[in-house]
Symmetry: C2
């Protein structure tokens, strides 16, 4: 378990240049035709690669890759890893508080989901999530 100070640092990093996201991905092999695909990512330029790797190693839950545009992206994709990460930063996030809480609710419900009704509730929550990330007030599209 990381110290409070490390967790607060990571929360600040996530708030400033990170992404918490979940979407319904069409996938015929899934029961209701969609896969629930959550992910969390942190971004950074390649300039500080070595030090950014330190931060990624501190977290130790995802994978670092270089995107085609040269930006480093540290992605956490496994559900259990995302939950662990979000519970870790949850007490400290400010900007992404709603996203973190809604994502945790979605992941908890996903595990308990049994029938179509459960799936429709999840789809509704995922739509609410989309609205949180792409509010009409959004004035510019960044890399997040």
């Amino acid at each position: 378990m990381l110290t409070k100070v490390k967790r607060a640092y990571i929360a600040g990093f996530l708030d400033a240049d990170g992404s918490v996201y979940v979407r319904l991905k069409p996938n015929a092999s899934y029961r209701f035709g969609y896969q629930i695909a959550p992910y969390v990512a942190l971004f950074q330029s390649q300039k500080d690669r070595k030090k950014f790797e330190e931060i990624c190693n501190l977290i130790g839950l995802g994978k670092l890759r270089v995107r085609k545009d040269g930006i480093l992206e540290y992605t956490i994709g496994r559900t259990e890893a995302i939950k662990e990460f979000l519970y870790m930063v949850e007490p400290f996030v400010i900007l992404k508080r709603n996203q973190v809480n809604l994502m945790l609710e979605i992941l908890e419900r996903k595990e308990r989901s049994r029938d179509k009704k459960d799936f429709l509730v999840l789809a509704e929550l995922i739509e609410r999530f989309r609205e949180l990330n792409y509010s009409k007030k959004r004035k510019y599209h960044n890399i997040h």
Copy 2:
């Protein structure tokens, strides 16, 4: 004085989407023809304006403005305020550790600076700073 946890959060935010910068600005009214102009800034999209204002108020050392491209920029420009901010985050920064320490050295030397020799040492340190921010390894130019 902010708690360690708040200071670590702000350090994470600065590392991810902030800027620490100093430049020599041509200005004939200054003794050696140049003004030493330092600044620290945090950036964010307008989407989370209210919560970003919370963070700015927590810091309480700068000014928030909306840039022409719609990005929010919280700028700290007064030397004393920059020093206070940097000492606050210094134990927690990872990516911008070199910039923070070099900037503190420049600001300390600036106060003690008396003659042309002192000014030339400062100019040298400012050049080193420029190299830190725009390393050749930099692969993309972001808004920072």
